[in-house]
């Protein structure tokens, strides 16, 4: 397949693996956090860890948009879906996310709520146009990648004067979360998080560019290499991080130059700025309150803000006590360190957020790498370098 196979070629992978093995200093341990769930997915799906030397460990970060949405906001979505006037539209992988009492949108749909799985924000708008007697609410989530399409439908709805369409906005911002991982008080409580460098988000960076990470790299003296989602992208970016660490550098480099520029997509940024503004604080599942890390709808689009239209109030809700998702999302613990992993928490019956989406670290461990816990010699396992 053009533009895909080129980034999955086994022979190129072997060459890159040899280069990484050659350049990785055996006296060092390299802990590389991939922020994005897309990277986690690629690492497990293609077995990238198998091609890495034993002293390089991938630490799975909080970049799964489904995983980091707090229970309280999913409760809100369930309340909206429970309103008999409402048709709630959302992306597929939000359907299974457990809320308070292990309820989910999938269960609500089974009980009769009008919940529709959509593939794009335009689907939600179309449903609103076709059903003028229904209150159509778009349950919008995601990082900077999915925010511009939400901005587009809000503008379209305003231009069309739609009276039955609104957005429950839960869009969050990447740079704030990356910073939070290294400096929050909770991290100090959990212990030192040994992260030596970051694989920067790919799709997110195509919108915001590489520039927003420059302050972070300087302030925290950690290299950031923007990496594409293909397995060869991940390997090449890993080699770039190793080289920076070996050289004592901490810069922002861009492996994903075929898509990402330093400035990003200015048009998309302007669109987002026109429709959304910063929230002073927003709760992330597993990370707690993160300042200036999320967006809300600007007052001029208030008529389309589901939070105002339906008086949405988010109440604090707790994750299961023994769930280790907060530590896992920060890279302080591995999924297998959690007592719930594979016992009561599995993809069919997720308790913690990291087990929910296929991009979550626990789901990836369970789905793609579980055999390692049982059958692999320790020297080749993901855990060997931990």
């Amino acid at each position: 397949m053009k533009y895909v196979d080129e980034f999955r070629a086994g022979d190129l992978a072997q060459g890159l693996a040899a280069a990484i093995a050659r350049e990785a200093d055996p006296s060092h341990t390299y802990n590389v956090m991939e922020f994005c769930g897309g990277h986690t997915h690629a690492i497990f799906r293609y077995g990238v860890q198998d091609l890495m030397p034993a002293n390089l460990r991938f630490v799975h970060g909080p970049g799964c948009p489904v995983c980091v949405l707090p229970i309280g906001r999913v409760d809100n979505a369930l309340e909206l879906a429970g309103d008999p006037r409402v048709t709630l539209c959302t992306y597929g992988d939000m359907m299974r996310v457990p809320a308070t009492g292990r309820r989910s949108l999938l269960k609500a749909k089974a009980e009769g709520a009008d919940v529709r799985m959509i593939y794009s924000t335009q689907d939600a708008l179309r449903i609103a146009v076709e059903n003028p007697d229904r209150e159509v609410v778009l349950f919008a989530i995601g990082f900077e990648t999915t925010t511009p399409p939400t901005a587009v439908v809000l503008k379209q709805a305003a231009a069309a004067g739609l009276k039955n369409f609104s957005v429950f906005c839960n869009h969050v911002l990447t740079p704030a979360a990356i910073t939070h991982i290294l400096e929050s008080p909770e991290v100090r409580e959990i212990g030192t998080v040994a992260i030596d460098g970051f694989l920067g988000p790919s799709h997110v960076s195509s919108v915001i560019g590489s520039q927003p990470y420059e302050f972070f790299a300087q302030e925290y003296q950690r290299p950031v290499v923007i990496a594409g989602f293909e397995p060869l992208d991940v390997m090449q970016a890993t080699l770039m991080i190793i080289r920076q660490l070996n050289d004592g550098r901490h810069e922002v480099e861009n492996q994903y130059a075929r898509v990402v520029t330093r400035e990003g997509n200015r048009k998309a940024q302007a669109l987002v700025a026109e429709v959304f503004e910063l929230r002073s604080s927003f709760e992330w599942r597993g990370l707690g309150l993160v300042p200036y890390s999320a967006l809300r709808i600007r007052p001029q689009f208030a008529a389309f803000d589901a939070e105002l239209r339906f008086g949405v109030e988010t109440k604090p809700a707790r994750d299961a006590k023994s769930c280790e998702c907060p530590s896992i999302l920060r890279g302080a613990k591995k999924p297998t360190d959690c007592k719930l992993f594979g016992t009561v928490c599995a993809p069919e019956s997720p308790i913690g957020s990291c087990m929910v989406s296929s991009e979550g670290a626990c789901a990836a461990y369970w789905t793609y790498g579980r055999f390692r816990q049982q059958t692999r010699p320790a020297a080749r396992s993901t855990e060997a370098a931990a």
Binding site: G10, I141, F371
Partner: protein, 349 residues
């Protein structure tokens, strides 16, 4: 019989428009629907006899029976429809015992308001599939549910067949060292269906692989009567089916990703939607597991059949008490190929 005469023996209630509650009442309208559609298109002596069952002399050998409900949406899709699927699916389930399918039954649950023209199109398609396969539909049933209590049409088919002497195929017979073969490209049916789902109008040339596999199976068991396992990887795809076999046989299965046939369009569509083709449904594919000494012969027989031209060895069974399915990726790494957790849902980004 003239049109005037026909009024007094039947045909007083016209068969046009859409399915009505009276079509399921058991009265004249039901009888007319059965005669005008099912008996007319499925035509064979057993059905024509008009009894509530079909009687036949069972041939020698072990009898096989299998039943399958079909609830596909959309009802018509590239490469087939719910009717041909209902015929192929049950023939294949019978054939996966290494059996020769003999007869089918078909039960229809129709929703009030379903267009009779669409029903006829489905019945014509079923009749053609059944005739081509040489497996007649010899008995059946029709029920009508109120509008809103169905999804247009549901079809349940049951098939009976007979296993040739010396053949003993079962999911629990895979042994370490055995070879896994597949008769062609995966994911075609699932992607063809997805391409016609509401909201997912992407362009693809992919048509469903829906086909009756009993001819291929007959050639395979004739050449290698000792085939251990046959299974069609339908719902849940190749991955789920292999996990079933691994559990039944208590062996591990190791796949070679590079050897698994897949069309470029299927890969592209799955890539676009964030779906794993290993979990996408097939309707004309089979997995065969055999002893290593039989593998080359079996592969040659499969490739000689029109439905097995792209057949390939895709992996082997290994000793593993945990019965994991694992895969050597085309990239050079390894991964688990787990059961599907619920429905496969597209990723957000």
């Amino acid at each position: 019989m003239t049109a005037h005469d026909a009024r007094f023996v039947g045909g007083a209630i016209p068969l046009s428009g859409s399915v009505d509650m009276m079509h399921g009442s058991g009265g004249r309208a039901t009888a007319e629907l059965v005669q005008a559609l099912f008996v007319r298109h499925f035509d064979n002596p057993m059905l024509r006899a008009g009894n509530d069952q079909a009687a036949f002399q069972p041939p020698a050998g072990r009898l096989v029976i299998s039943t399958d409900g079909h609830v596909v949406s959309p009802i018509f899709f590239p490469g087939g429809d719910i009717g041909s699927l209902a015929v192929h699916g049950t023939i294949n389930d019978v054939a996966m015992a290494g059996a020769r399918p003999l007869y089918l039954s078909a039960a229809f649950i129709l929703e009030q308001g379903f267009p009779l023209a669409d029903l006829e199109r489905i019945v014509v398609s079923m009749a053609a599939a059944s005739r081509l396969a040489g497996v007649p539909i010899v008995t059946g049933d029709t029920k009508v549910v109120e509008r809103g209590k169905g999804d247009g049409v549901f079809i349940t088919t049951t098939g009976v067949g007979v296993v040739p002497e010396g053949v003993d195929v079962s999911g629990d017979k895979a042994r370490p060292g055995d070879v896994i073969l597949l008769n062609g490209s995966i994911g075609d049916h699932g992607v063809a269906i997805l391409s016609k789902r509401e909201n997912l109008a992407f362009e693809t040339e992919i048509v469903s692989d829906s086909a009756a596999l009993h001819g291929l199976v007959a050639d395979m068991v004739a050449a290698v009567p000792g085939i251990r396992v046959l299974r069609d990887p339908t719902r849940g795809g190749l991955a789920s089916t292999l996990n079933e076999i691994a559990q039944q046989s208590r062996v591990g299965l190791r796949l070679d990703e590079a050897a698994i046939p897949m069309k470029a369009d299927v890969r592209a569509a799955c890539e676009l939607l964030g779906l794993d083709p290993l979990y996408i449904a097939n309707e004309g594919k089979l997995i065969a597991i055999c002893a290593p000494a039989d593998a080359d012969r079996l592969l040659a027989v499969m490739r000689a059949h029109p439905l097995g031209q792209e057949a390939a060895k895709i992996g082997e069974a290994v000793a593993d008490d945990l019965a994991f399915v694992q895969m050597r990726t085309a990239f050079g790494g390894e991964r688990n190929v787990d059961w599907l957790a619920g429905e496969q849902l597209p990723r957000i980004c």
